[in-house]
């Protein structure tokens, strides 16, 4: 069966520090991968999605970037965190196109001090 792992589960970082959140999927090949941010009391904002290794589409211009160095690995990064980067970050995968159900990891709670 397929599984998705996100880590860390919780992260507290100072303003201006770098960021690296990792997401890996097991049990499937060539998945579509997604990064979302969920602000408190709000829905999901799609940040990046990827249909293959090295292929990244950005939905919202911002302080973050994403990379897909391997088929089932998706990394969310920042060189210098802002206070506004605080939130709950979710990784998801789907088989096929973005019309298909997405399956989510347990998320990373990021707090910027």
């Amino acid at each position: 069966s397929q599984t998705i792992h996100q880590w860390p589960a919780t992260l507290v970082q100072p303003v201006g520090s770098p960021l690296s959140l990792e997401c890996t999927v097991e049990g499937t090949s060539n998945p579509n991968l997604y990064w979302y941010r969920q602000a408190a009391g709000r829905g999901l904002q799609l940040l990046f999605y990827s249909v293959g290794i090295g292929q990244i589409s950005s939905e919202v211009p911002q302080n973050l970037s994403a990379s897909r160095p391997q088929d089932r690995q998706f990394i969310l990064s920042s060189k210098k965190l802002l206070l506004s980067d605080s939130g709950f970050y979710l990784c998801a995968w789907s088989v096929g196109n973005s019309n298909q159900p997405q399956h989510f990891g347990d998320g990373t709670r990021l707090s910027i001090l």
């Binding site: 009391g41 829905g43 999901l44 347990d106």
Partner: protein, 111 residues
């Protein structure tokens, strides 16, 4: 523009009572429809989906949803709510490789 609306931010129901969570969408083409549930501090879990066929779909945990094309709605229902159903519920709509999520409805269950 494509959009998904969940009109109720927060709903409180008593345990054992019935539940209906509303979802309306605005899409040009026939969309694919989903409901997800999120427990605090966790990711989203797929409850059910509608692609085509029977407009009443059954999901996990005793949930069902009905697609009504004339009303552009995909409301989630459960006949008898359990305390463990307290969570945030998200409707999602996809069309042309574009999936959008509603802002969510938080469900509180009273004993």
């Amino acid at each position: 523009a494509q959009s998904v609306t969940q009109p109720d931010i927060h709903i409180t129901v008593s345990e054992g009572a019935s539940l209906e969570l509303r979802c309306n969408y605005s899409y040009g083409a026939t969309p694919y429809l989903f409901w997800y549930v999120q427990s605090p501090g966790q990711g989203l879990q797929l409850l059910l989906k509608y692609f085509s066929g029977d407009t009443l779909v059954q999901g996990i945990k005793g949930f069902e949803a009905e697609f009504k094309r004339s009303q552009s709605s995909f409301n989630l229902r459960k006949p008898s709510v359990h305390w463990s159903d307290a969570a945030e519920y998200f409707c999602a709509v996809a069309s042309n490789n574009d999936m959008r999520f509603g802002a969510g409805t938080r469900l509180t269950v009273k004993p």
